[in-house]
């Protein structure tokens, strides 16, 4: 049943993005004063792709940095950086993205960059914390065996610790991706090409249909990406005998 709903959501999304005009009837009820029901200034498909691209790049950067930090602070040499890394990632999460945008624009100018920075900072914390938990909560007898077999530090990290921490790291990436997907909309206030453009246009022209279609596409994307990650996590977890649900 859940699978069926997801498939339906995916199908709807694809059809809607391929030909938004065919769904005009659906959004007509939200329109007053004969305003257009579908946003056409920029193609919805191209906005969606650019939105996804922004989120993808930002999450990828967050992942590289957060996993890297997680690895660093769990090594003996980097242990002293743990409090610092915690502080940095926490600030990244608590500092409102809107404020980041406001501060970044004078330096980076309008466009995609300020949004990328905001999303990158915002996405660090969940990935970092999950990496940390994954790398520090390994079964003690497995770490002991790995050491006793003569794996070097690097071999233990690559062959044992990271694979076992993978389900948790993926869960962190999933949280970051979903949060970023929603947060990216505000990027359009500083001229980044995202689905936020549709929502903002709707707000400025009091066209509820725009707001609804922008929100709908973002929401569906978030659900689909969330589910895709969860399926991937379950698969990795099952492979290492930690089958959840």
């Amino acid at each position: 049943m859940a699978r069926l709903l997801l498939a339906a959501a995916a199908l709807f999304l694809v059809l809607f993005l391929a030909s938004p005009e065919s769904f005009a009837g659906l959004f007509r009820p939200f329109v007053t004063n004969n305003a257009p029901a579908i946003y056409t200034q920029t193609g919805l498909l191209s906005l969606t792709l650019s939105h996804l691209g922004l989120v993808g790049v930002a999450v990828l950067a967050s992942t590289v940095v957060a996993v890297g930090l997680g690895i660093l602070v769990t090594r003996p040499a980097g242990r002293e950086f743990l409090p610092l890394a915690r502080t940095v990632t926490s600030i990244g999460q608590t500092f409102p993205p809107v404020a980041v945008l406001a501060l970044a624009v004078p330096i980076l100018g309008f466009g995609a960059w300020p949004t990328l920075v905001a999303l990158f900072l915002y996405g660090l914390l969940p990935i970092f914390e999950n990496t940390l938990t994954g790398l520090t909560n390994l079964p003690p007898e497995v770490s002991e065996a790995a050491r006793g077999m003569g794996l070097t530090r690097r071999q233990r990290l690559v062959q044992v610790e990271l694979p076992l921490a993978m389900p948790l790291i993926l869960a962190g990436i999933r949280l970051s991706a979903v949060i970023s997907l929603a947060t990216a909309t505000i990027g359009s206030t500083v001229a980044a090409k995202t689905l936020g453009e549709v929502i903002i246009a709707g707000l400025l022209s009091s066209n509820t249909a725009y707001v609804v279609q922008g929100g709908l596409v973002v929401g569906l994307l978030a659900i689909l990406i969330y589910e895709a990650f969860q399926a991937l996590e379950t698969r990795t977890a099952r492979r290492i005998g930690l089958a959840r649900r």
């Binding site: 007898e141 497995v142 006793g148 077999m149 003569g150 076992l164 290492i240 005998g241 930690l242």
Partner: protein, 309 residues
């Protein structure tokens, strides 16, 4: 041959292992026995340098282990622990292949070795090589753990309570199998246990440890009949001494000529089994498989040695 010389480990103010010296001959089993906190595990872990000694030396065939890089040393020494520590994300074959892969054996060699070991442990390669650890029973996981430790044909195998997580029936079988395999391969084995029964069953030498000190190191019969300290006596258990002593000797070794009725007893059974059979069936003598008898009198006089000391 492993020579342990004045090995000491100090954490802060606590001396965990205190000036222990002992030698394990090639092909022998040394059982380190003691209560928890006696330092036996620390002593074992200093042999493959999972714990670095505070002072003292370990020589393997005359070679000072502190001069070999720790990871290279560990690849030469098999290591099996309680709860097996199998890598949950790797198949049985991949787990067993861990050290050969680190040593960069060819794929064909690794594959052949994995199959050979699985067969040695009575697990059909076709059926088990691609299974994941969580798909195995406790006894099978333990066997794969030992197979993994033996994979690169180490001259020395270290085991820390390897049977601790097994139920008594499987444990007895696992001990027997280990003993057979060790004899067949000629591997030197140092095993840590808190169970005197296991130490007597497996050890060619028993090392009794308490509070970081080596109290006694000798053959099981000596430890049983001449305990060097009150603690050793306590660990053996007064009431268990005669039975432990009987369990050391095989029926075949004391069988004498004669006739007796009833079911035969295998020559490889221990005197303890023979005594149990005598008492249970109410016979005063048992025929031994392959000829001869063993009598209750013989068993009694053997067991009485325990009280001589």
């Amino acid at each position: 041959m492993i020579e342990i010389q004045n090995l000491t480990k100090i954490y802060g103010d606590t001396t965990v292992v205190d000036q222990v010296s002992m030698t394990v001959e090639t092909g022998q089993i040394a059982a380190l026995v003691g209560t928890s906190g006696s330092g036996k595990t620390t002593l074992l872990r200093m042999i493959n340098r999972l714990v670095e000694p505070s002072s003292g030396k370990v020589l393997i065939d005359g070679e000072d282990t502190s001069r070999i890089p720790a990871h290279a040393l560990r690849r030469r020494i098999g290591y099996a622990i309680q709860g097996h520590g199998l890598f949950p994300h790797r198949s049985v074959a991949q787990n067993i292949a861990t050290v050969p892969a680190l040593l960069k054996w060819s794929e064909a060699d690794i594959r052949a070795r994995v199959d050979e070991l699985l067969e040695l442990f009575q697990m059909s390669p076709a059926q088990f090589r691609d299974r994941m650890p969580y798909e195995l029973s406790g006894g099978q996981q333990q066997r794969v753990g030992v197979a993994r430790a033996l994979a690169a044909r180490p001259e020395l195998l270290l085991m820390d309570e390897p049977f601790g997580a097994l139920d008594p029936v499987i444990r007895a079988k696992a001990q027997q199998d280990l003993r057979d395999i060790q004899r067949r391969l000629g591997t030197t084995l140092v095993i840590v246990t808190h169970d005197m029964e296991e130490a007597v069953a497996l050890g060619d030498r028993i090392a009794v440890m308490d509070k970081g000190e080596l109290l006694q190191y000798g053959p099981p019969s000596e430890v049983l009949t001449q305990p060097a300290a009150p603690f050793v006596r306590e660990l053996i258990g007064e009431g268990e001494r005669p039975f432990r002593l009987l369990s050391l000797t095989r029926v075949g070794d004391i069988a004498k000529t004669g006739e007796a009725g009833g079911e035969t007893i295998p020559a490889g059974a221990s005197l303890r089994d023979a005594l149990a059979e005598c008492l249970w069936s109410g016979r005063s003598a048992l025929p031994v498989e392959g000829g001869g008898v063993v009598t209750l009198d013989q068993l009694e006089s053997r067991a009485a040695q325990a009280s001589v000391a």
